[in-house]
Subunit: 182 residues, 2 copies
């Protein structure tokens, strides 16, 4: 079981949060929603909500085993907060799994941590990443060291598989026995 | 009188479009709304709308004297279109005035045209610009050659003044006589 920080704010892409969140929980992982204001945040399509458990200013990388950043407008909304950026930077530096989809990698851009990393993102963000020195592939999912990235809602199943694999719970899920020993 | 292309799409920041658009028209300039789909586009706050006059795929830099890119979610929505990016690139290369506020510079990022330029943008986009090689100042308005950039709605009056100055209609406006000869 991994303790996963979910970096999330207003107008996240509903399915890019809800589907991976369900899969991560089903695999036995524990999610802590880290945000920039107390209360509930809503998806931009009005189909999902999340309740912030912890403010970014109180979040420490040492308390988590992995980081998950859903897409939508949420990443740009929250990356204005210096503690969101600090937490992302600390998690990337720690070597713990960092899972980001669609606009999620915008937070990693703000952390100044993409140079030389092989990754993907939402199509418009791909260029921003390239200009910042990342090696960008326009593929469903790209895994590079501790970093797993995907482009869009269509990629979610592949993002989930690669994320669970990175968390060491891929095999259990493939057999349909959540949390069972390998 | 300048012919100004307004690069705009869904969920623009209402005031960042409406206020400069009014000031530009009041100074005697002609606006052509260039977008990625026919019809009306709405501001993200529901306070302004704009009707697309011309699809980006049919827009030529030669037909315009200046480019204006309002902020909000619009810039990221439209920069996925290759002709939006092409038009922005051509206008920057032409030396004609390019006026961009808030998230507007994201279109210039996609055009690969910010390296070495002195500019500003919405706070989160400032870092993306820096990583792409721009010289970023956190100021109300930054003018560099043909490029005028601002950060946010609070900066609009300064953005308008610098834009009119760049278009050569600053003095007329300062005297309150729109369109009068200098």
């Amino acid at each position: 079981m991994a303790r996963i920080a979910v970096l999330i704010g207003p107008e996240f892409e509903d399915s890019e949060y809800a589907q991976p969140a369900k899969a991560l929980r089903d695999a036995g992982h524990e999610l802590t929603h880290v945000g920039i204001a107390q209360g509930e945040v809503k998806g931009k399509n009005g189909k999902a909500t999340a309740t912030i458990d912890l403010l970014a200013q109180r979040a420490k990388a040492a308390d988590f085993d992995a980081l998950f950043i859903p897409g939508g407008h949420s990443p740009d909304n929250i990356r204005k907060d210096k503690d969101v950026v600090r937490l992302a930077k600390e998690m990337l530096e720690s070597g713990k799994p960092v899972l980001a989809i669609c606009h999620g990698p915008q937070v990693l851009l703000s952390a100044g941590m993409v140079r030389g990393r092989t990754m993907t993102a939402w199509q418009t963000v791909q260029k921003d990443l390239e200009l910042a020195g990342a090696i960008v592939h326009d593929e469903k999912v790209v895994a590079d060291g501790n970093l797993v990235t995907s482009r869009k809602p269509d990629d979610i199943p592949f993002f989930i598989d690669a994320s669970l694999e990175k968390l060491g719970s891929g095999k259990e899920r493939a057999r349909g026995v959540a949390g069972a020993p390998a």
